[in-house]
Amino acid sequence: MIFRPNTASGVPIYLQLMEQVKHAIETGALRAGDQLPGIRPLAEQLVINPNTVAKAYRELEHEGVIELRHGAGAFVTGAAREKKLTDRLKAGQSIVAATVDKLRSRGVTEAEIRRLFEAELTRLTVKGDHRG
């Protein structure tokens, strides 16, 4: 399993790790019942803070994506979720593809599209913080 957070990005590392675990589940690289690396080995392998890995795992458990079994480690939960996520993702991808096509046909460049998406996600992230 390959996780690769970009530590110099403006996005907190624990959020990146959470996304990478979810992505691995969505692509089938991780399946229900699979064990995630332990906190310490993963922190050492990625050379990142162990508290950051622990935080990502805690949040993933809170979202029901993984299960922390005391002393045994972290495991991917329920199989139903994988398929649902995959379908959802496929549907999302076609929406994104259509939107990108439309923007390009109006002369918006790739770099500009990327910026638009990032700005929108940033806006959402900030709003999300206020709710939580």
């Binding site: 310490r40 922190a43 050492e44 050379v47 508290n51 940033t122």
Partner: protein, 299 residues
């Protein structure tokens, strides 16, 4: 260390010959965290570390390390027994071999960990019989790290541990730190000019500027809450003072106003609406941006 703070200072001041190196420094390092200590050269980082380890006395203010006051000689000894320190000169004796230096240091620490010693001698490829005089800069740092890690310290204080190291040696040192912190719950407090190192392994950050704390807190919180907001106007950007919480810096250049916010974008954007900007945009902010925007540019 369980809960609480491994290091706490309140309004710490230090003057050398009337020149103030620290001008009311307040900081708190949570136990079990890896805390990056940042600031420009001359901001007061080394002075702070010296005070924490009892090598200098504060002119005023209060500081505790592992719950012990730094300015009584009895507790200062206890602090140093429970703290591993790697300073600029590394405290190594050139006449000794690696093994000799290790044995010499081990004799002072009853909690010395022989297993760790063997592990790091192998991992750092130090070569036990080599003379210290023949070690490269990276090797000297690794040996000093080994001596600090094996004494069973509750706190590691490191003054620019990766300065002058090549990327491979830097990664070895950082990996030893995160591995050690994960296994032993040791608090790590390290000063650095390498923002990338701090972003990689720190969960807390303290940025000081001219003897005072400029920014301090959890790195995740900073990355989630700091945003750079750009407002573009049809004419010149108006002179305007924001009332919103968390507005750290506002710059104007022609039609563009840039706002650095430490409290998200909603407050600033809500207020900016009444200025009728032609467009608004916001981007996340890296530690480097925060550093450059919060420390004084002029000396």
């Amino acid at each position: 260390m369980a809960d609480g703070f491994a290091i706490e200072t309140a309004d710490l001041r230090k003057a050398y010959d009337g020149v103030e190196a620290l001008r009311g420094l307040t900081l708190a390092v949570p136990a079990g965290s890896i805390c990056g200590f940042l600031g420009r050269t001359g901001a007061g980082k080394t002075t702070t570390i010296k005070i924490l380890l009892g090598m200098a006395r504060p002119t005023a203010g209060r500081a505790t390390v592992l719950g012990l006051p730094v300015d009584s000689s009895a507790s200062s000894v206890a602090i140093r027994r429970r703290t591993g320190f790697v300073g600029d000169d590394k405290g190594l004796y050139d006449a000794m071999t690696v093994r000799g230096m290790v044995r010499h240091t081990a004799s002072f620490y009853p909690r010395w960990n022989r297993e760790l010693e063997e592990k790091y001698l192998r991992k750092f490829e130090l070569g036990a019989e080599r003379g210290i005089k023949t070690l490269s800069r990276g090797m000297r740092t690794k040996l000093a790290m080994l001596l600090a890690l094996c004494r069973g310290a509750d706190l590691l204080v490191l003054d620019e541990p990766t300065t002058g190291l090549d990327p491979a040696a830097t990664e070895d040192v950082l990996q030893a730190l995160v591995g050690h912190a994960a296994e032993h719950g040791t608090t790590v407090f390290f000063s650095s000019h390498q923002l990338a190192d701090v972003e990689q392994i720190a969960d807390h950050v303290v940025i000081i500027d001219r003897g005072r704390t400029a920014v301090a807190g959890s790195l995740d919180d900073m990355k989630q809450n700091y945003r750079r907001i750009q407002l573009v106007f049809d004419g010149d950007a108006p002179a305007y003072t924001f009332q919103s919480r968390g507005v750290e810096r506002v710059t104007r250049a022609g039609r563009v106003m840039t706002v650095l916010s430490s409290a998200g974008i909603d407050g600033v954007l809500g207020e900016a609406r009444q200025l009728y900007p032609a467009s608004t945009d916001s981007t996340p902010v890296t530690l480097k941006d925060i550093f450059l925007d919060t420390v004084a540019v002029e000396d």
